[in-house]
Symmetry: C2
Subunit: 119 residues, 2 copies
């Protein structure tokens, strides 16, 4: 039962698209990630995914529209919905999602992180 300071944890890494686990509860993970550039189109078959912006802003693209997320805003992407985060500038996000979630979902590829580190 430790207090986690989000900014301090974010200062421990600088890699993009490389989520770090900072908490686990009820079979869910709390992760921190730094995003920059476009990610890959993907969906998660059985996992809803929450994005909460801690710093900066980015665009979440869907096949039929896009939404802009700014600091202090959150969005839940339901399972099965194709999405692609695109960050023009560096953005820091907190993710809530089942422990089974893989970052690239059904897409796979070189950006896949199968076993995120715990920070």
């Amino acid at each position: 039962m430790n207090v986690v300071n989000l900014k301090e944890r974010l200062s421990r890494f600088s890699t993009y698209w490389d989520p770090k686990i900072v908490g686990e509860l009820n079979g869910q993970h709390v992760k921190l990630a730094k995003l920059k550039g476009p990610f890959v189109w993907h969906s998660h078959e059985a996992e809803d995914e929450l994005f909460l912006v801690l710093y900066g802003s980015f665009t979440m693209e869907f096949r039929d529209r896009s939404v802009r997320l700014c600091e202090g805003e959150m969005l839940i992407v339901p399972r099965g919905v194709e999405h692609r985060p695109v960050a023009e500038e560096e953005v820091h996000v907190l993710l809530f999602e089942p422990a089974s979630t893989v970052n690239t979902g059904n897409a796979g590829g070189p950006l896949t992180v199968t076993e995120p580190e715990r920070y």
Copy 2:
């Protein structure tokens, strides 16, 4: 799939110890709450509970120690662990917990909110 601005949602209510649901995913709720004063000692039999401070600071008391949580810090209270939040001044928190979670846990009493509103 709507963007939720946490500050805007917090501006919609002013009651203390009265959590509001702002998101649901994977059987979990995301809630916002304003705390002030001491809460009741309680535990949750089957639910781990995450507190993330969005504004202000407060003390989480356990039976054998206390921890201080400030803005930008989070704490996971595991199921079965007795705890009591005490906020000297108003504090705003985000909670992440199973949809089954009742705020007063095993304690019950007048502060119990059995069906939190959705904001």
